[in-house]
Amino acid sequence: MTDRTDETDDTHRPGDQPEQHRVTDGGVTAAPGREGAIPEEDTNVTEVFPEGNLDLRAGADNCYKCTTCDTSCPVAEVDEEFPGPKFQGPEQWRLKRKEDADIDGSIMSCSNCMRCDSACPSDVPLSQMHNEARGEYVDDQMDALSTEYVRNRILSNYRTSAELASKVPQLANFAMNFGPARWVMEKVLGVTKEREFPEFAEQTFREWWRERGGAHVQSSEKRIAYFHGCYSNYNTPEVAKAMVRVFEHFGYEILVPPQKCSGTPMFANGMLDDARRDAETNVENLASAIADGADVIASCTSCSLSLRQEYPELFDIDGVEDVSDNTFEAVEYLRIYEDLEGELADAELDGQSFGYHGPCHARNQGLHRQAVELFRDVDGVRVEDVGDSCSGISGTYGWKEEKYDTSMKIGEEMFEHMKHAEGEAGMTECPTCAMQMEHGTGYDIYHPLELLEDALVD
């Protein structure tokens, strides 16, 4: 693969110290009080453990071992060897305070679904602890020449491969699903040959956006900056176009700032250096759009969760809080600021039924009911919730040869429920969940924005 260091060198700002930007570097200053840290002067806290870069002590202390997180973990449910989020988070954090303690390799089996976060009754920052541990494991204990490392690096830097492929989409579509090539990829890189690679679009969203001449609506009152992410740019520009048409229908001026990967696949693979590099670009450009009066909108729920939660938890970058506070998922935003239900009251669709799967990362943001509730009273469409199980793919997780079976086992319940649901189409906000839904059922999968476009835009 290509060397990726060049494209990012220019995004470092002068203030960055190399040792500071390693792994995690100061979520506490970026997010005061996020874990409810007790101000020093209010207590006489004895320094029991030497601190790492992130102050996770308060979070670890909040855990009272109720084990609720473990029951919400989709991996522990199918893999008895996986010690579960309580171990990966607070327990491992304590073990690590001993200098000679290594991070347990099982951290790489965590799929980063982050369900433990919304299960914890005590606000333990579990996913933040997992991210830190995974980053440390990859940096200190994983061999940078190993197949696993190289494979994970390639998978988590999907944007780089996608950018290349999108220059020659037809060739890429052929080559990526060419049998012998896939056999080699599995043997050499450990990328499962069971899955079909997503197709690359003939024209990326950004190419389309330039060709159409950018925004068709100008407004100083209603303005949004669109974080399209990689997938709707390279693979499903129809989602991005739907987003543009729906928001323009409501009179929004749309900005499409320069951007890189949201970091989701990098967090899941412990590639925090890569994630930080892209985060710097994203935060800089999005913060400047916010300064121009825009709110940030994502159409992928993992992208929005990353900007909202993981960025401020892991990175101390200028403007990171600003971006977190002003980022929304697209449908969420319209439900808050527009009379979406009123607009839909007279809409009519042509008799379709969808099995809706709520992505884990949408659940964390309180969004997993929005599609079902929104279309409940719309004529000519039925959106049925197929239950609260995890789809099992968790981004790059289900692409790994050794994780494929686990991934499909987790997904089994969702596939069954989809088949029981009315109709033969699926719906979700997450592009990799969509991949898994399609893979397990053969259905076509849609984004709620596409349905909104059908209902509202001529």
């Binding site: 084990t67 473990d70 029951t71 659940r363 943001q365």
Partner: protein
């Protein structure tokens, strides 16, 4: 301003869901917001209504708080206000409850209605509705709990039946000691023969495998070490069954397909198979949570989990009316407007009540929480004694409106339900679910009233604590 509803319920536990359904059935457009997954997954899955009542003479009936001095533990215990029970029926001793107990405020009828709403929502997944009597359910420590409703899967295990019983545990599942359960039941003088057996099952699982892992393996009848899970379990248990007519397992017999798992094990073992409720994290609680959320969907209630309510705004020009609550959506505080609001955020454990070294507060609306001024009076030395903190909570009117220190409603359009309401020591009384159901149905229904002047609420001053 787009997020609006007639009624907004804050809190997604049993009380919140009950009030949401009650309000929806009264014709209101209802939205429910919950910060985290419900605490039902930490509860047994049993629906207890009232199992024990304090003696009239015990301190629970009075609001005098006596500062405790350190005393000898035995002396403390000998002075513990004994509770009467287990009660044959939860309704028997309603009259014995203190005047400020939620049951005393809402009355027996509210509990009956709450339980019958629960029966309707759960259908045949739960049993117990055929009688007013409490059922006696053995739990994982071998104690027997009086409860009003119980999952169908525990039905064959009732301690009031006299069929002989085998209790089964696995070496690989360290949280459950079958022989201890059997011994404890036997020592309590249950009217049947009971034996415990520890069998070899899923030995390839490490000792810390999760309860959900065991359930999933049985759900999908996975092969464990080459044998389908259900068959493997039946074969391990079979040699121990002997004359036992019913066989009890820790509650992990499947999740999605639990009925099928139980039936297959029953066929193979030739007896009734039942589950014994476990401590947290509880599969019976998880199943109840799933069913109740599905019920919300069926009733047309809109709900979301994942974001906390962090504050409120009063209505324009009416400082005594709530206009909206503020939901923190990962940084942006978004107002959710409604005509009326229900506070169902839970008690000290559920974090519906907060505390520091100086005071116990209700953090969302800052409702008045009556409490002893000296924090040493919040508790007594006896761990299982009559702690004041166990009964702390907002003080409600008969219509479940939280009252301020002067005895007037905190807000004209705020109601409260469940553990955030004070006056009940639900752990000692075995009344947690019943209090949630009874107060939930009143709060939900009152919140849905369109005339907005609750007529039952005229006598607020007489019921002040």
């Amino acid at each position: 301003m787009a997020i609006e509803s007639d009624v907004l319920v804050v809190g997604g536990g049993l009380a919140g869901m009950t009030s949401a359904v009650a309000a929806a059935r009264a014709g209101a457009d209802v939205r429910l917001v919950s910060h985290k997954k419900t605490s039902l997954r930490q509860a047994s899955g049993l629906i207890d209504a009232l199992g024990y009542v304090p003696e009239r003479s015990s301190p629970a009936g009075q609001s005098e708080y006596i500062s405790q001095e350190r005393k000898d533990f035995r002396e403390v215990r000998s002075n513990r206000g004994e509770y009467k029970g287990p009660l044959v029926s939860p309704y028997d001793e309603f009259g014995e409850l203190p005047d400020d107990h939620p049951y005393s405020l809402v009355g027996e009828e509210a509990l009956r209605e709450g339980l019958s709403l629960f029966d309707e929502l759960l259908g045949d997944a739960y049993a117990g509705g055929h009688t007013d009597q409490n059922a006696l359910v053995p739990t994982f420590g071998g104690a027997v709990k009086p409860t009003a409703r119980y999952p169908r899967s525990v039905a064959a295990g009732l301690a009031s039946e006299n069929r002989s019983m085998l209790v089964v545990g696995f070496r690989s599942f360290t949280e459950f000691d079958a022989r201890m359960v059997a011994d404890t039941l036997d020592a309590a003088g249950v009217p049947f023969d009971v034996a415990g057996a520890e069998v070899r099952y899923a030995e390839t699982f490490p000792a810390d495998a999760k309860v959900t892992r065991f359930a999933k393996a049985l759900d999908h009848d996975e092969h464990i070490d080459g044998t389908p899970a259900r068959r493997a379990l039946a074969e391990a248990v079979e040699p121990h069954v002997g004359d036992a007519e019913r066989v009890g397992f820790p509650a992990l017999l499947g999740d999605e397909n639990t009925r099928e798992v139980r039936a297959e094990l029953g066929d193979r073992l030739g007896g009734d198979v039942f589950e014994i409720p476990m401590g947290p994290p509880s599969l019976l609680g998880l199943r109840l949570e799933d069913r109740l959320y599905a019920a919300l969907d069926d009733e047309g209630v809109q709900y979301e989990t994942g974001n906390p309510v962090v504050g409120y705004e009063t209505a324009d020009g009416a400082p005594d009316r709530l206009g909206s609550v503020l939901v923190d959506r990962k940084g942006r505080e978004v107002p959710y407007a409604a005509d009326t609001f229900v506070l169902a955020t839970g008690g000290l454990v559920g974090k519906g009540l907060g505390s520091d070294r100086n005071a116990v507060q209700e953090p969302v609306f800052g409702c008045h929480v009556p409490q002893p001024e000296d924090r040493y009076d919040w508790f007594v030395d006896d761990a299982f004694g009559d702690h004041a903190y166990a009964r702390l909570g907002v003080e409600p009117s008969k219509a479940m409106r939280p009252l301020d220190a002067g005895g007037d409603p905190e807000f004209a359009n705020l109601y409260a339900a469940g553990a955030v309401v004070g006056g009940a020591d639900v752990a000692r009384e075995k009344s947690a679910s019943g209090v949630s159901l009874a107060t939930g149905i009143i709060a939900g229904r009152e919140a849905a009233r369109t005339d907005r002047e609750p007529t039952t609420d005229s006598n607020t001053t007489e019921i002040r604590r």
